[in-house]
Symmetry: C2
Subunit: 510 residues, 2 copies
Amino acid sequence: MMEGISSEAASLAGTLRLGKLIYLYDDNNISIEGDTDITFTEDVSDRFRGYGWHVIGPIDGMDITEVDSAIRVARAEKDRPSLIICRTVIGYGSPNRAGTGLAHGEPLGEDEVKLSKEQLGWPYEEPFTVPPEALNHFRQARERGSRQQQEWQARMEAYRSAYPDIARQLELDLSGELPDSWDSDLDSMFLSEDKPMATREASGRIMNIISPRLHALVGGSADLAPSTKTILKQKGHFGIENYRGHNLHFGVREHAMGGIANGMAVHGGIIPYAATFLIFYDYMRPPVRLAAMMQQRVIYIFTHDSVGLGEDGPTHQPIEHLAGLRAVPNLTVIRPADATETIEAWKIALENRQGPTALILTRQKLPLLDRKILAPAGGVQRGGYILWQSAESPAIILIGTGSEVHIALEAGRLLEQKGIVASVVSLPCWGLFDAQPEEYRKSVLPPDIKARVSIEAAATMGWKKYVGDEGIAIGIDRFGASAPYRVIYDNFGLTAQRMADEAERLLKGR
Amino acid sequence: MMEGISSEAASLAGTLRLGKLIYLYDDNNISIEGDTDITFTEDVSDRFRGYGWHVIGPIDGMDITEVDSAIRVARAEKDRPSLIICRTVIGYGSPNRAGTGLAHGEPLGEDEVKLSKEQLGWPYEEPFTVPPEALNHFRQARERGSRQQQEWQARMEAYRSAYPDIARQLELDLSGELPDSWDSDLDSMFLSEDKPMATREASGRIMNIISPRLHALVGGSADLAPSTKTILKQKGHFGIENYRGHNLHFGVREHAMGGIANGMAVHGGIIPYAATFLIFYDYMRPPVRLAAMMQQRVIYIFTHDSVGLGEDGPTHQPIEHLAGLRAVPNLTVIRPADATETIEAWKIALENRQGPTALILTRQKLPLLDRKILAPAGGVQRGGYILWQSAESPAIILIGTGSEVHIALEAGRLLEQKGIVASVVSLPCWGLFDAQPEEYRKSVLPPDIKARVSIEAAATMGWKKYVGDEGIAIGIDRFGASAPYRVIYDNFGLTAQRMADEAERLLKGR
């Protein structure tokens, strides 16, 4: 009740009139530092009524009959979520610890366990004893559950006969599989584009191609849908007048958004996405971590991914966030270099059923990489690939991600003019690249080529792994600035000229 | 009003009856995705009354007289914080944009600016015109301010005469300086200790030595004071019965705790500390980032800093958090190896007036490094130092931080038994080490010694910078596990034997 996410979620549940939602509030008046009076004197009833909730209680939370009947009352309320305030005693039954903070933070200890068993009338000395009555109760529950499942399956059969298409859709959604040819024509989406395009824009277009074919795709933004380009235009908006909408509005509540996306993924039948600016990842780190730990397919769309967002300035410009994301185990982080790499990033995100994927997208427009003269974007599937090489036997490797790849490419061309052969590598996903066989990794980053320069508009942490002892990582290890993005790029040294100069310097120094 | 931190802070302000606090709620009914009805239908009056606030309004927030008199009413209320609900119109005066989301997200444009000026009766065409009436108003305000400052200074003089000691204390606190000899006897604190001690325990003892001498030290924990060992025993608890207490109770509200600590630092006169488990840093990343950006002296005490916390398991075991902290610009991150390094860490934190410092401390006990045979702990001041070397001309460098330093030391001794000379480096603070002159860095990590092994119970991201192309970073690039900490260390390969084996392998491979 104290953590901010509880307010975010409850306020949204009230707005959406989620009548099926029931909270049991275990109100035991105790926290680790002592009585909650020192930190929490609010009237929870008033607060939740303010959120538009149905409030029941306080009831005696130690009385099963009272709790059971409160749940019945809550279930009968269809239009509002229900809060049942249960007055409880922490460490109930322990003669010396009940109702104290110690019951939260410490084990009771052997003596107090014994005294508690006596007070509770629990005759079994052996720990983890399951009395026959309890065993019997659970066996009955299992039988009841089995009957209910059979009934549900019979209803499902009837439904399938009546509505074969919708039933097929439901089963496909619940299976978590992607429909056949869901991505059949994605590759050709941007073939006729020649104008620069932000990767957030490309992502929005891709989503709107996929969405009509992929019914399970449901998500939204923390009040940044227009800016993150995440509205599914052929789907309705989710709200009290339309629970069938696929476009959710989370409000300015990133933390709850992350938690809700996890809930949708764990529920199944849905492939949730959650969108905001990359800087606001800081507000939703805990649920992103849990998605990774729970191996859930949640897709994060983080736009405005660097100082390239321009005038909003340092409070809004991510610096350390890419490093932070890449350090999370089991989270796939992809920063595509243009619209064509963004297609591949979406394929990876949707096909990844072992964990969440974060798409890192630009606000600013980026030139489309010309695949007629460059390697195909399919290389994104391997995390990194040689995008272009001016001739055989390069003397230097230039590496970039996302919005800096075209700068690396330009640097490669500057070097070419000087007769220096460079290999330009696009490295949109460290995790996927690191998971490739050694042979492949060595083909992209040959160990004998020690002269390497990387460029990324973010903290340089971690780049030594790719540029090596002798290489140079161009990045930003300070906070950003408020200016048009081209000015920032120049002032922070994120330029092709600097990259080429560093490369030359490296080659001369050898 | 939607973001969780607003609830955390408001609930605590109500509990603490902060009568001087006044919120002006700019209630314009608009968010970026449209009308707030889609996400925010709560009754804010009820919610804030639930928090124990004095609620005024709704008033017409576009009417200066109404706002002014509401503020007067709010100031007259001494026992509760006040919320003034101001109904406002976003883009007020713009005939075509007022009251719409566009007024938030986009510039008005030249034509609409012109129309708005007409509607508002603003006769000046030139942007940024300051009319004479406004100029005059502000000049009068400046004179009034100057008079009030003189009055305050006269009162301060009288106060100094009446209470010279307290006045001196106040001025010292406001200067932000540390008192003379505040750290005079810290170095000898643990000389007679021979039992293993957790660095959280050492930190708690240090704080309690410092606290009586350093009046400005004020802080607390997000309901984990007993576990983080952060109670100042000679100071009272802050609460409605004692606003002079130095021990704050933030409740389970990490995000608000970080924000409040920033406010205290910016206010001045206070050196705030904020304590929680390292895993919960994820809940307070935004305020930590702001402290770094604002260059404020806030001290974070993050305990339970790795899988070493044991049984609480992966949800509570930090993995990526050290890398994340280190990537934040201007944040000093120190992970001391034992009680003696913890003394140095506290000195650095208190003397650092250019930004926040995070102390990364263990739950588990660690052996005290024997300074009679090892280098002095003062090396922490340089971020990293050679702790021990079995002989001249080492063949290998072993590096550790925090709870893994004693493992590196043990590995060094295993190698010594095999006749291999190792240098053992303690590297508690990357940032300070990187800021040392090249000569010093090369003396600790001589470039010609390529055989290097590091150990840290965290993600390995960033370690290549120190172990180099040929070196090996032992760490944890997956989520943790629930087990006693020695079992986890064994199972995750965080052992002296593995470290020694890797070192030998490196030497043989050359």
